[in-house]
Symmetry: C2
Subunit: 140 residues, 2 copies
């Protein structure tokens, strides 16, 4: 199987250049799955929500406005599996479970929040662009 210039390698071997080895632009690369876990609809908000400190399940649920129980649970499992979130369950009654970012998760969340905050700050410009776009389209 030949590879042309734009193709992307994706192996765990080339340890000396991990960023190329796990290129997300390659369809089969596991890094793409992880990127989707992180940037997914609820993944980004969950990581962002946990950045300030550990939260219990329902605290987090209230923080991430609109997420269902099921989706939050599912998202947390994915993120825990990826090693980004740590789950601390205390066998008390009623049960108490705390979720917190791992060091790796914090690094990810930091970059995510940089994007989020930037976007929030530029929303006026985005909204204006949307209006221009819609106006031109509607006028046709």
């Amino acid at each position: 199987m030949e590879e042309t210039a734009t193709s992307t390698e994706c192996t765990a071997e080339a340890a000396d250049d991990a960023e190329l080895a796990f290129n997300v632009f390659s369809k089969a690369c596991p890094s793409r799955r992880t990127l989707e876990d992180v940037t997914g609809r609820w993944g980004s908000l969950t990581l962002g929500g946990l950045y300030e400190g550990s939260l219990r399940f329902n605290e987090l649920r209230r923080r991430v406005d609109g997420v269902s129980e099921k989706m939050l649970s599912q998202t947390l499992h994915s993120l825990e599996r990826d090693g980004l979130v740590h789950r601390e369950a205390q066998p008390t009654n009623p049960p108490r479970v705390d979720y917190e970012l791992t060091p790796l998760g914090r690094d990810v969340a930091e970059r995510l929040l940089s994007l989020i905050h930037f976007l929030e700050g530029r929303m006026p410009a985005v909204l204006q662009a949307q209006q221009s776009y819609d106006a031109e389209r509607g006028a046709l």
Copy 2:
């Protein structure tokens, strides 16, 4: 306007604190839609793919491995509407259309790529975490 710790406002008014005004954690806030455009399955890869320079439709399609014509087209429209991508069509035959990031789009892509590259570099750790997680689960 008083704010308690967890509540989130979402108006275009409070121009002095845009980041709070467009809080993405609020369900109804337009910033969440935009965040999804940017971090969505194809949005992030499209923005990342355009970071190095402008590309034609099919060039971009080859770069973002696995994206369908329809999804790329749709993604580009969303990003163009948000003011992140500029579409330059030349009325030649055969048609030539170039897509490039706007200044705003570049800023977004920069932050996105920071996240992507970090993730790519940490994939060994992520993969290992996944194996541990799966091993514990399978053993039960």
